[in-house]
């Protein structure tokens, strides 16, 4: 059966997304927005060089991002490769910060379904509470929607109680219509969250991509009543960008989505910028990079 795509107008979607970037977020709204953004962060390290020591340090930062500003909450989760899940889980025990693991041959996903399932099972067995899988772009671009969905369904089964975030890697999909279509496939197949990117591609959570995915989530919720979350990952490196994503969510899905149960921001460097901006709202001057711990 040939694929039917819902229309998305590139110019229109980018105009609307950019217009929402012009919202003026000042004073108390900025403080609240920054606290919200921190509480929704999936603080991420996905490097070949990751070690237990590095992950433990990042976990400390995740639990208490700014010791001098106690009103800053913990982040939502730590996101690591499956080999580091046990370390993170131990470091985060009892803190309320979740452990998320990328899986399924991240980031390219060019491995067999069996290998993807095994990767997922390993992460869950090590204690991962959230799994960030990648869709098979190979199957999607070849037009095999059924295989894309079947893989997601199988991974979802392998997750058990763990929450499943499905990464579309939008930069590789080629058009907003494909982004919308892939969002729908992922939600139909049982995704708990849909997520923009691996962070390893040329572009990530651009405002336009975020808006298309948010509209897909809204339409899916209207049609089925099922709530699916959204994770913006890739390229959200400044407070302004993070607040822009919150505005996109607020004005597309509503305030009920402004909670870590429904919205995540996957990033690493944005945290210290959020802290610096928060400090600025309090003492009126920009701090230095050294004022905050690297991790």
């Amino acid at each position: 059966m040939s694929r039917r795509l819902a229309h998305v107008d590139r110019v229109g979607i980018e105009e609307r997304a950019a217009a929402l970037g012009a919202r003026s977020i000042k004073t108390t709204a900025k403080q609240q927005g920054i606290r919200l953004a921190v509480s929704m962060l999936d603080l991420t390290t996905l490097e070949g060089a990751d070690t237990a020591g590095k992950v433990r340090q990042l976990c400390a930062k995740a639990v208490c991002p700014a010791p001098t500003m106690p009103e800053i909450p913990s982040v939502a989760a730590i996101c690591v490769y499956s080999a580091m899940v046990a370390v993170a889980r131990a470091a985060l025990a009892g803190t309320g910060v979740a452990t998320a693991s990328v899986a399924t041959g991240f980031p390219a996903g060019q491995v067999s379904l069996e290998a993807k399932l095994r990767d997922t099972e390993d992460a869950v067995a090590a204690g991962a509470e959230e799994i960030d899988m990648v869709i098979s772009r190979e199957a999607f671009l070849a037009g095999d929607d059924a295989r894309v969905m079947r893989e997601i369904e199988r991974i979802k089964e392998a997750c058990g109680d763990a929450h499943l975030k499905v990464i579309l890697e939008t930069a590789e999909l080629g058009s907003y219509e494909h982004v919308r279509h892939a969002s729908m496939l992922a939600m139909e197949a049982g995704a708990d969250f849909i997520k923009t990117s691996t962070g390893k591609a040329s572009a990530g959570a651009t405002p336009g991509v975020c808006l298309v995915m948010l509209e897909a989530i809204r339409d899916h919720a209207w049609r089925t009543g099922r709530i699916v979350g959204f994770k913006a990952a890739g390229g959200v490196s400044t407070s302004k960008a993070a607040l822009h994503r919150l505005v996109l969510v607020k004005e597309t899905l509503g305030d009920e989505w402004l909670t870590p149960e429904r919205l995540r921001i996957g990033a690493s460097s944005v945290l210290n910028d959020l802290l610096m901006q928060y400090a600025k709202t309090q003492d009126g001057r920009y701090g230095r990079g050294e004022d905050f711990s690297i991790e």
């Binding site: 819902a6 229309h7 107008d9 110019v11 229109g12 709204a29 509503g254 305030d255």
Partner: protein, 488 residues
């Protein structure tokens, strides 16, 4: 009518009002005649008020018959010297005005918002930059006039009277003055009664640009001033933007006098959404088409035609989108919909909305906290509208959209053209061929495809039928201000 409550929010944007302390307004403004502000002969001043607060902003001199006569005399004597300047020199003055508008952009935007009630977001991002762009555009034409109209030799008309409305005060002044001056005419501009301030700031800009005295006169006042102006001897052309009723009166007054005329009048423009459109972007375009500037837009997409097969989905999405509109303080940078321009306009909107309810259309208005003072009307959606209803026929000029359904492309075209107006239209479809086919069947001066209310100085704007005649913008906008002396 049903009023649906707004959900409670957990992340409210803090107030973000634009500062006003940089705006240097005088307490009183005179008439701008012969390059200087002058007291009116009969000494009449009227306050101009902020429609969002009903507080007076400044006292404005209103022109009397003697002032009109004086301005005409000065414009007549200044015209030959202005037209005799080398074309490039005239262009330089216009470039200078354009740059000064850019330099004073923030001030002009705040002033426009204070005087007219439109959201700062719009005056800052649309009105003022476009006004500058029009001056830049026609500055460029000043030494290429004959190429713009494909003639061997052209000449200015002489003295032109220009009457502009209150919905885009500065932008309409720019639309009128820039081509008139580029072509070598001298101009007398009458701004609208309720929104004279930015035109008077433009007068200051003309002074700063050292525009020769007499080339531009600005005569604030009510309709009486306009009526006196167009009936005065010594005019070569009248350009009017405003209501169809006044346009008719002007055309009658000019009949048989050999005075050129262009009219840009009302509209009841059709915004057509086909089932194969990108619906979310279409909804965005519907919102921009009717709630931009509180619907005080002559080309507003006030008649929404939706294919029946997607009607429910479009209405659901539109209502959800409307619920996100932020109505309130026009100076707040996050405001989407500001104040209604005047008590008079508010009364007119209320009367037509009441007529819509009485005729059986289903009304939904946004439940929003409207300020206690000032003139406000909530964004409103009428469904189950029949083509015979007044709200489907008459121009409301407010934030009110009437939704009608259609079944086929042929019916869409027929319904869209079934209007005494023909100013603009919107077409929403992902099929390019269909868009062009429909566009060429529509009797409307402007047709937007997959967008709405986008303006550009290079594009011609004007109407069919009772929406007027003559074009503004682009090379077509030169023609109404020129006489062709020799054809190629």
């Amino acid at each position: 009518m049903t009023v649906e409550p707004r959900q409670s929010t957990v992340w409210n944007y803090a107030p973000a009002p634009e500062a006003t302390d940089h705006l240097r307004l005088r307490d009183r403004y005179g008439l701008f005649i012969d390059g200087a502000f002058r007291e009116p002969a009969e000494g009449r001043h009227e306050p101009t008020i902020n429609p969002a607060t009903e507080e007076p902003i400044a006292e404005i001199a209103w022109a009397g018959p003697a002032d009109v006569a004086r301005a005409l005399e000065v414009a007549r004597s200044a015209q030959p010297r202005w037209a005799a300047l080398p074309d490039r020199e005239r262009g330089k003055y216009l470039f200078r005005i354009a740059r000064l508008i850019q330099e004073r952009a923030r001030e002009l935007a705040v002033c426009e918002t204070l005087d007219g009630g439109k959201p700062l977001r719009e005056s800052r991002d649309v009105d003022v930059p476009l006004a500058a762009a029009h001056f830049f555009h026609y500055a460029g034409w000043a030494d290429k006039l004959r190429y713009g109209v494909a003639a061997r030799e052209v000449a200015p008309l002489g003295v032109v009277a220009q009457i502009v409305p209150w919905n885009f005060p500065l932008l309409m002044a720019a639309w009128k003055l820039a081509p008139a001056l580029a072509c070598g005419n001298t101009a007398i501009l009458k701004p609208a009664e309720t929104t004279p301030l930015t035109a008077l700031l433009l007068a200051e800009i003309c002074q700063e640009a050292e525009l020769p005295p007499g080339v531009v006169a600005i005569l604030p006042g009510d309709g009486q001033v306009g009526a006196t102006l167009v009936r005065s001897p010594g005019l070569d052309k009248v350009a009017f933007t405003g209501s169809t009723a006044v346009g008719r009166d002007i055309q009658g007054a000019l009949a048989g006098r050999g005075v050129e005329l262009t009219l840009e009048l009302g509209g009841k423009s059709a915004n057509i959404v086909f089932e194969d459109a990108a619906l979310d972007q279409a909804v965005e375009g519907i919102v921009n088409g009717i709630f931009f500037n509180q619907g005080h837009v002559c080309c507003a997409g006030s008649r929404l035609l939706v294919q029946e097969s997607v009607m429910d989905e479009v209405i659901a999405k539109l209502w959800a989108r409307m619920a996100r509109l932020r109505v309130g303080d026009p100076l707040d940078k996050n405001t989407d919909v500001g104040a209604i321009n005047s008590a008079e306009q508010l009364a007119r909107i209320e009367a037509l909305v009441a007529a819509g309810e009485a005729e059986g259309a289903v009304r939904r208005s946004l439940a929003c906290d409207l300020p206690e003072h000032g003139y406000w009307f909530p964004p409103t959606l009428f469904t189950d509208v029949a083509p015979a209803h007044r709200i489907a026929v008459e121009e409301i000029f407010g934030p009110v959209v009437s939704v009608l359904s259609f079944r086929t492309q042929a019916e869409a075209i027929q319904k869209a053209n079934n209007s005494r107006y023909g100013l603009a239209a919107g077409i929403w479809t992902d099929k390019g061929a269909k868009a062009f086919e429909v566009a060429s069947a529509l009797r409307a001066g402007v047709v937007w495809q997959n967008t709405y209310n986008h303006f550009d100085p290079t594009a011609a704007f004007g109407g069919y039928k009772e929406s007027g005649f003559g074009r503004e913008g682009g090379p077509a906008g030169l023609r109404p201000y020129l006489r062709v002396v020799r054809s190629p």
